[in-house]
Subunit: 416 residues, 4 copies
């Protein structure tokens, strides 16, 4: 369905050619300063037309808050948000070649199979435009997490095609054992990712950006497309988040990330490469937290866990629950389905023919996917924070028992 989250819950609407796209955010904590500026920043980073290697359509994507705030402060009631569509006229169906063919590997065919309605925009709700609602919602979640817990969420492009920031090697089948990678994710900021030297790829290495940019341009010039991966790190996450057994934190992250259009793969921490690492190396030994080398500096007032891990192959999650170390994961994006090259395929009416997509299309989506990944990560963490708040507050009111740890030692319970 179009709802994500239980306690901080976003519901989105809208497809390419309707009046507007938007969302309702339910469950936002009251008393937080919030204006449209807070949301616009990520919408602007998501926007198409930012460079020659992304789609050149120039959509404005200006958000209007409809409800849920007053004098710039959240009321605790649902926050409605809306972004107008520029091209609201559904096109006259059947007028062009593209209307005869379901685009290969696109959602045109499956939307028709599912809903039985042949809409002008094919699988219109599968459009990247749908992601506006979730980005807007995620921007609110992220603001809360930053204010309340100092959480930092940074995503970047880690590969395009066969060009990697950290290519797998026999020594490091997974970047999680590579100190350089760990250093990067402990430091990287969003400002760095957006720095001109990494433009427009958003890969935080000038050298790799060069290789990747070149590759995308090659594919663009051939009217072809190519995939890539985005890596995301979340720092300063409170320990104790995640709701086993079915709602383990990595399970919800995977759910969130694979709901982003064009995604095919997700890995947390050591990921697939970690399957090749012996347990004796893969295990993250515990150490006293003070000496934490990948030390997440907490900016809010709640107690840090007393232990941390020396290595972080777990990616900050163990047994489905955050341990306070940086959470990081990779998402694989397939090559965009809409390409200018001629493709032999079938019409809706089972006739073989040749489809050549008109217009300009993203030859590679990963740069624009960066803010979408960050916003989905924020939604996941926000919901998990609220679930754990409910548990911990409830627990803190019980008479203390010998067999348990004081509630105050785990998650924050600060009365002002």
């Amino acid at each position: 369905m179009s709802t994500f989250g239980n306690y901080f819950r976003v519901t989105t609407y809208g497809e390419s050619h309707c009046r507007s796209v938007g969302c309702i955010v339910d469950g936002c904590p009251p008393g937080m300063q919030l204006t449209e500026e807070d949301v616009q920043t990520q919408l602007t980073r998501r926007r198409p037309g930012q460079s020659a290697i992304t789609t050149p359509r120039n959509e404005q994507d200006t958000v209007e808050i409809q409800s849920g705030t007053e004098f710039g402060v959240t009321l605790g009631t649902p926050i409605g948000m809306r972004v107008m569509n520029k091209d609201q006229r559904p096109k006259d169906y059947g007028s062009s070649t593209m209307d005869l063919y379901p685009r290969p590997s696109h959602a045109d065919w499956t939307y028709l199979e599912k809903y039985g309605v042949k809409a002008s925009s094919g699988g219109g709700r599968s459009s990247a435009r749908e992601t506006i609602g979730r980005v807007a919602a995620g921007a609110i979640a992220e603001k809360y997490l930053r204010l309340a817990h100092g959480v930092e969420i940074v995503a970047f492009v880690s590969s395009v095609g066969n060009q990697f920031l950290f290519p797998p090697t026999p020594e490091h089948p997974t970047a999680s054992t590579n100190p350089e990678f760990l250093k990067l994710i402990s430091d990287i900021t969003r400002e760095q990712v957006d720095a001109p030297e990494f433009f427009p790829v958003r890969c935080p290495s000038k050298e790799a950006t060069g290789r990747m940019k070149k590759l995308v341009e090659d594919f663009r010039d051939r009217k072809d497309s190519i995939g890539g991966t985005v890596t995301c790190v979340i720092r300063n996450v409170p320990s104790g988040l995640g709701e086993p057994c079915f709602d383990k934190l990595e399970a919800i992250l995977a759910h969130a990330m694979l709901s982003i259009p064009a995604t095919k793969a997700f890995e947390i921490g050591s990921g697939f490469g970690g399957c090749q690492v012996p347990g004796s190396i893969h295990n993250d030994p515990f150490i006293k937290a003070g000496a934490a080398p990948n030390g997440s500096e907490k900016t809010s007032g709640f107690p840090k866990p007393r232990l941390t891990t020396k290595t972080n192959n777990s990616g900050g999650i163990q047994g489905g629950i955050s341990n306070g170390a940086p959470i990081y994961f990779n998402i694989g994006f397939k090559p965009p389905a809409t390409i200018g090259q001629a493709q032999t395929t079938s019409t809706y009416d089972e006739e073989e023919g040749i489809l050549e997509a008109k217009g300009r299309h993203d030859p590679c989506v990963v740069p624009r996917a960066v803010p979408i990944v960050e916003c989905m990560a924020a939604l996941v963490i926000m919901d998990a924070v609220m679930a754990q708040h409910a548990r911990q507050s409830a627990r803190s009111l019980l008479p203390p028992l010998k067999a348990t740890r004081p509630a105050g030692e785990t998650i924050p319970l600060l009365a002002e």
Copy 2:
């Protein structure tokens, strides 16, 4: 939480040392023949102690149905199921070395951080024993899917450490472009996977089984552990399943798979390797369904989609919705955290020390993970089938419109 699914909904309970483990299945269609035999088969395949390379504890794991059936037929009411624990006595906490240390990369520490209670079994609910409830529920879902739609779900081991069934190559960075792989997943049966020649690895290649078995034995002998991957294929899935935008079919599969203990990664169709394949090759052209080379033979009476795809890099899902082609995916399992080797780590009380785990532990979990993966896959497909049934039945009662496809052409709506 401990609930999975909306229409076909399973809720599980139980940890290692309590009285029993089990589940409640709510929403099972009424009127289906169901006895404990139907459930026991997969529980027995999941059981530890099946071979020298899996953990030698011999648990019986006999299921008892508590409710929801009468004279061997489902009533449509909740089905309670229970499996007794053999060792129900929580051990005397603090009596052994292992109790002083949270096991590295295990859930002991994070469970304490989350719940604040130091249980005798550490992160007891993170135990593989928790999976009994979901396997039992999945076995019911699978029976329904087989009876009603001819759905076939088969999982197998596709790698152990660096030993692969289909190693990535420059030509085939993903197995999805490899005809041999596509042939295998279109044919493979559960009986083949369990054949003596592939015992105990469950990798459907005698040669690869040999390599993998050797590798696991090496790790076992070194008191170390190693990870691996499981590949799963689901054949004869009706088209139109999956609930965009947040509940795309691959997103729910990812959620389900990453809720299985010890998983770190998930990829659908071409997966991470597909990021390296040009769009012009990666796209799956449509062809008339009759000629489908990866032809899924439907055994139930509902209409096959009129189109299918020539290739299947999509893994049977496009735009988050099934297209009728085989759905396949890989799951990465990390090396088991509990190893016999000495590890330098910290006690709960922040003292550095050396932990040597006692007892015998699985050096590699992937063979036993096979039925768990299958059962989670069944739960996902079952829930998606019921959601689409609700939509299609509702739609079929509306007056027909020109712009839409007849409801009867898509999903089954067969009155008897």
Copy 3:
């Protein structure tokens, strides 16, 4: 939260002084004709300022569909809807006497206790204006139910203060045993309720309307207010709806109705009065359906239940499941909290004082509540229909068993 329903799911947003109010409807069946006209009718019936006995503010309340339809047909994707607020400027807080006082029996105080934010509109989300979103969503549900199942939903005012349409008597402590009442609910139409002779009370008896109108005018003139009851009947409901044990159909109806502002009470069928009727009279004997005296004429093609009941003290629901007979229920609305009379109460700052509400307020809400009740009823039935569709479609694909009834004999499974 602000979401209602599982399969046909509405999420609302908006309070009195924000930019707009509205909703997202997720799960609407695709392929249904739908335009803004379909929704506007009920919004207009709900609007204030319709008569001298309701509040004279004249709000336009024009709905704009944002998404989910194309060329007037539903796509199956979320339907966004929006109604602008006329007065979008939050008032300058603290400028008037009313701002010093939480209004007695209003939501001002509890909203502050809950959210901690003192909004300009006090408990702004508790305003009747919030109901716009649910009425818009309910209008869509109702259209579907009428088209697909011939469902008819009609609500009317059954009492104002101590003036009753069917006053309880020793013979009929509940109207459910009164043949006149049963006749009325088997026939009454929305057009009749809105007829000029019953204006503006919406009580389908000229005589009772006169008594009620007089009473409301008395209370209005005294700057006081008075409560009343609304009775609602739903005809042609398929049998088999309702999801025991917790989601019995009457439980969901009660939930829906008591979520309407100012409601205090709900009764289904014989209700509280039925507690005084002996079981031997209260029981509804079964008879062959053809002879059904309270005969619901089905207009769609699905099989009527073979049995119906001779009487209908059950109100069409038995064991939490609809039996095909008319469903009817009463809802009690308290006197509006905002009155012009001086009230001795306390300020937010615990000072005793006298509050006199300015402006004109509804002296009685029941006439305007009629469309709100109808729309909530539609949301409940729609969701229950889809849940039962999912079950029945799933069941219809199983091999038939002797112990069960053919699926086709119960709920509709019509392929076109």
Copy 4:
């Protein structure tokens, strides 16, 4: 479905003739002392066979905790509970007269319509036996609420047939304006309700108990049955509970209560009678909390609201949110459907005939309903407490703003 609650979530299973009935409680706060004794008390109060006016079958109903506790302390993981059925053999269907007839006003017919399966116990899941799971779960919730917030929940019988504890009068059309009633609900304890002098009716007035007992005996002797009402009060509820707009606290209470078998009506506070009371009298003026005449003594350490109300026609809830005053409500129970008298009705096969139910049946269910009502009330309040905990904890970590109230002034946020 069979699940109730979001944060504190109970899922039940079981019908009359299966192996056992039970439930899984998910989300219970960790670190609470809990043994089977805590649960057994309410199960025993619910048990049939307690007196000559309730059904004489003597079921033991001994609960076994399966999981979720260790050494008598909750782990925070799901708590499985089970009560064996004494008569587990489904009877040989069709052997008796009763099997030919769906019992009038019972669930036999609608269960068949819904599920299509003719079970030996008819609408077996609609049996009072189903309530065991919810009573067990509610007992846990209640223990938490008592320990953490000093919440007291007491239900009692307030009418049987036309015999009332507080009959409606012209002066007091609702008991909510009657000082005697308000005094009773501010004081009444569960021990008093169970006192020998009120046995077996559970109406806290010797005189009324006499009248009611006599009435039930009359109906029993005539092989007839009669309904009644239960009143429930919840004291010491924190202010701020309830989740508008759809999940107002009274809406969830109504949902919970109307999910109890045999219920037909619900009213909160002044209820239906309040519709007849002028707003000027019905409104509850605010007063400084110290002087609260219906003073709820809080036993836990969180701040009392600064204001309370002089009267309590609202029943402790305003705008869907608790205000700290006692919450009270009535539930109407219909006369039991199974009676010994001969009834002319129809067989399943549409033949008219005469049904005479065998065996002994409850002539009136209200005395046994008392603990069921209390337990459902506990489930509602528990879930609302956790939702508000999540919000308040989240809010307490935000930088303070002028426009808002300090988080610490509202709901408890006590670190130990």
